[in-house]
């Protein structure tokens, strides 16, 4: 289970090139700005929580805080009761992170790469070997397991990335736009994989721009706009609040109303 409690992240604004002044940013301090402000939500085990928002809404910053890559300015979050600020290393052991940027080591083979991350997670040699073989047969990777990542197709690379995410058998999996840039078959494989994670009782946080994926997978959604939480609830609640049957339109209506309230 993930519990996010009034989490915020503030950054120092960089000087705008050519202007010499700090650009004003919707009523906030000129030198500092909040990428995420006072966001709270929960995601239960065995469910998929969708994280939505337009570009620049603060989704990546939020995910980076949850994965302990960034430290929150205020508030916190916990994974099965383990706090991300007090015990980041324990949190990292429990999470798997998969994004559209596969982040593979091109000069390593798929096997070398998965084993590397298994070792970094402190897995014992024998268990690691078993787990790697298990993942390779599960994801049908045996044929390219010993090829260098540079030589793999994008679908194969995505599989290596999935295996890397799962090698330590995490309880919580965070997906950051995992299907971006993939063809239909590769994207479908990812979506099926997310469904299987839910079936195994894992907690899934799924960030995407594709509403058909949200419709298919998510039990609940959280929508961010300009760093603020502007909606959380089920897909039915999203539709009923906006009076829209299509999820895309419901999403846009929620963003529009958030714009209006910010402007006010």
């Amino acid at each position: 289970m993930i519990e996010v409690m009034r989490i915020s992240k503030c950054f120092r604004r960089r000087k705008q090139k050519g202007r010499g002044l700090y650009k004003k940013f919707f009523g906030q301090d000129r030198k500092m700005f909040y990428a995420v402000r006072d966001v709270s939500f929960r995601a239960e085990a065995g469910t998929i929580l969708g994280l939505l928002g337009p570009n620049g809404a603060g989704k990546t910053t939020l995910l980076r805080m949850l994965s302990t890559a960034l430290k929150p300015t205020a508030g916190t979050a916990s994974f099965d009761g383990i706090d991300i600020i007090e015990n980041p290393l324990e949190v990292r052991k429990r999470i798997g992170f998969l994004s559209d940027d596969t982040g593979l080591y091109g000069r390593l083979t798929a096997r070398e790469m998965i084993e590397y991350f298994g070792k970094l997670h402190g897995m014992e040699h024998k268990r690691l070997k078993e787990r790697v073989n298990e993942l390779f047969s599960l994801l049908d990777m045996t044929s390219f397991a010993d090829k260098r990542n540079d030589s793999l197709s994008s679908g194969m690379k995505q599989k290596v990335s999935i295996a890397r995410t799962l090698v330590h058998d995490p309880e919580v999996i965070i997906f950051d736009e995992p299907t971006t840039g993939l063809d239909v078959a590769a994207a479908e494989a990812i979506l099926q994989f997310i469904e299987s994670c839910k079936a195994e009782g894992k907690t899934v946080l799924f960030c995407t721009h594709h509403m058909h994926e949200v419709d298919r997978l998510c039990d609940r959604v959280v929508i961010l706009h300009q760093g603020h939480l502007c909606f959380q609830g089920s897909l039915e609640e999203m539709r009923s609040r906006t009076g829209q049957t299509h999820l895309d339109k419901a999403f846009l209506a929620l963003i529009d109303s958030a714009e209006v309230s910010h402007a006010a």
Partner: protein, 403 residues
Amino acid sequence: MRLSILTIYLKDMKEVLRDRKTLVFMLLLPTLVVPVLMNVMIGFISRVEKKARTETLTYAIFGAEFLPELADAFTEEKGFKKINIPAPDAIESAISEDQIKFGLVIPEAVREQFASGEQVAVRLYYNNASVASRVRDRAGKAIQEVGKQWRSNRLTGLGLDTTEKQESLLNPITIEEHGTANMREVIGERLGGMLPYLFIIFCFLGSMYPAIDIGAGEKERGSLETLLLAPIRRNRVVLGKFFVIFTTGITAALLSLTSIGLMLAVKVKELTGPLGEVIQSISVIDLVLIGAMLIPTAAMFASLLLSISIYAKSFKEASSYCGPLNFLVILPALFGLLPGVELDWIRAMVPITNISLAIKELVKGTMNYHMLAVILGSSFIIAGALLVFCTKWFEREEVLFRE
């Protein structure tokens, strides 16, 4: 804890060794190219030098009838060939067209001038732009010989009939030189300036590409963020990467040391005279100490380059930062090459320069070992401080996630 550093080290090392660019800078360049280049250069210089000394010099002479003994001296001497050109005015153009190497003009009243006790001037035209030119030396020597003969005749006429009497008049005080520097010191001064420069540059070049690759390169490829999500402390990540860069840097430096050493060891059989003796007098301990000097150097470079690399957002940006740093490394290393620059307590405190000068002293065999200990100690302290800085730098979010 240590296991995670080792895991990162082994993985990064494997990746680095699979990169051709690193292999070229770390292994190929210091091992093969430098000794080959040095060999070719030495061979080329000695060939040019030999040619300049032995080639037949073509010349034109005007006024030979006024001083036939000088004209005869050039005719009798081997290595000179007379060419006829129309007039003295054509000498300069004949030299520039490479028709002749030099031209001589003897004035008409040369004998009268000499007879009346005046100094006689013979004009020598030659191309003085060529560094390797030996024209002046060789033509001048022949002219001097005739001059010496004339002087001797005149002194004899004045009653100084023996060479000793003539010498005591011409050089009443002579200098009897007793140089205190041994031959190792003299040649080491020249050789010792060049070697540390090469070692330091190779150490830097060997570190540069791996540093950019495993810092900025990993950031650009998106794998750094994945690595940061592994349950290990960031200082372990820094140390793993630091040791990889350190290894490649020190390997490149030690390989250049070994390959130059081997080349000189092979050459020493061919080298007779003082240079051969100097090379033979460099002991294994001196080589070990030179190697020891390179350890903190490689550590300093590794920390600096990793800090820069991790700050940059891309391979390209990191390369553009490392360019000026290259210059900052070359300058202090180059300082040791300058003539007359000796190691003292002030220079012993200047990083890189002190290493460069200490290696020079070790080659010369004149190292002050107290100073060596201080240089090693201070260099290790600086390397340690830079590593601490690099570790702190790596923990900053604005460095790792720079937008």
